[in-house]
Symmetry: C2
């Protein structure tokens, strides 16, 4: 290891010179901190994140003679300690972006969100024109549907142009274990932007995604339907209809009640009211820097 | 510090002798691990959890000469490293329960959950008899409503017997900062167990909680309504109607789409269908060891 020493030493110097100007975000739950500052005179973002505790390192940590334990509190059968394991068993992951632009800084900033309650009328007068004005490219979605890209990632396909869809793993899932399984079903039908466009006419499509998506996930991964949370996002991150399949155990971002809509609820609501999703007020969070939030403010709907 | 050395040394020996038999739970996101094993011949649960990274320790970590940095990956402006800070800047919180009973072990076990889709009929034939058979005591709730307990914690009260409620901080909120604010509104009206009991007759009660709860939180904490997620749980953890108020920024457990129901949706649904919540199928997760899950299995509804 002495051969590495020099390299380590020289690397050490890199972050030694980092001067923090602001803490962009600070996640006590995830044991991470996001910093903006200067590194050798250049703008930089430094992210530090503690690493998961694994079973193998625990045994070493506890048995290593250089580990230190300090009693904090003792009450009946309960006690708490501070454990100081040897440094090499307790590394921190550091990510450096340098030179960082204002865009990078903004990306890592903890952004405030505001809940918007959008009526059906707000959708038509504010949200829809905003979406249309953005002309978000959906080319990457069409590439998937036409097998121009990501064809090898497809887990299941029903090629029917009306009720068909393609099922593939979400990029957030590393596919290494099934307990945090996360897939996306993208409909073949074009022109359905979101929940807002759904009517009773789409019940066969939705029921088909529900049935065949569950079946494909059971076949391929052995994960039963009663372990799955199946839902839409509103607002979605892209305006081509898609359905999320994630396991109950996973804490996939965006499965909170303020953004997610269970497919089973959507099915029931459309069965009882054809226009449920075009007439209802829908709540969703928007980040402080969102263009859509600015439109709602302009329209004095906030 | 040499005076402490002996105490530390003797404490070290305590966990040195811990032999893990099973990993009860392992949270990569929260950097925690829950272990069951033997400590000096007794059953024990040991919980290890990495500590949050604070701004002050970061400066020390980066500047300390004994910190080591190892390059993992470099690509354009992005690079990742392993940082080995000095042991004293990187402690782990250890909690020991010893001797631990089977109940403790079960409590810390990562429990599988299963999604149940409960029809209105399932509610009446399976869930309702189960709730009634459990005879959960609601005395602690009545103590709050009658100011026998926790009176000093009440943030706001509308004493009206029909539409009134008491608003107080949830125990999960430490009240030290407002960004993770979490309060509960408990209705004065008795006999409303959950969402399932609500009809259009309860609209004045629900609208009152919505309006006055938002107003009280704005007055007391300066937190605006568009920062609040206002919702019911189904299944709730106790069967006396209550409403959760938590900030969008907080990741309060139980705000996932599979358990939470936004008050604004409940209001709309009851306005358009008096019997919405008595007739609809509602999805919710149940833990593998739940008595209610066993009832659903018996009834072959799973």
């Amino acid at each position: 290891s002495s051969g590495n020493e020099e390299e380590l030493q020289s690397d050490t110097n890199i972050l030694c010179g980092f001067k923090t100007t602001t803490v962009l975000k600070d996640s006590a739950r995830e044991k991470a901190i996001f910093l903006h500052g200067k590194l050798d005179g250049q703008e930089a973002v430094v992210i530090l994140q503690k690493t998961p505790i694994t079973e193998d390192t625990v045994a070493e940590m506890l048995s290593d003679g250089s580990s230190r334990l300090t009693l904090e509190m003792r009450n009946d059968i309960y006690s708490t300690y501070q454990l100081q394991p040897p440094a090499h068993l307790n590394v921190i992951k550091a990510t450096v972006v340098c030179p960082a632009t204002a865009k990078h800084v903004k990306k890592y900033q903890g952004q405030e969100s505001f809940l918007v309650e959008e009526t059906g009328e707000d959708y038509r007068s504010i949200t829809l024109p905003y979406i249309q004005g953005q002309s978000f490219s959906l080319q990457w979605v069409f590439n998937i549907l036409e097998k121009i890209a990501e064809a090898e990632r497809i887990v299941y396909e029903d090629p029917d142009p009306d009720v068909g869809f393609v099922l593939l793993p979400d990029f957030k899932w590393d596919q290494k274990q099934n307990h945090d399984l996360y897939l996306i079903a993208i409909v073949h039908q074009r022109g359905l932007k979101s929940l807002r466009d759904l009517t009773a006419a789409h019940l066969p499509l939705l029921q088909n995604i529900c049935n065949k998506g569950k079946e494909a996930i059971l076949q391929r991964y052995g994960v039963a339907a009663n372990k799955l949370r199946i839902y839409f996002h509103y607002q979605p991150s892209y305006y081509h209809l898609h359905v999320h399949f994630s396991t109950l155990g996973s804490e996939a971002p965006g499965c909170g009640v303020e953004r997610a809509h269970l497919l089973s609820d959507v099915l029931q609501n459309l069965r009882s009211d054809d226009l449920y999703y075009s007439r209802r007020s829908l709540c969703f969070p928007l980040r402080a820097d969102s263009g859509l939030l600015a439109k709602f403010k302009q329209a004095e709907q906030l």
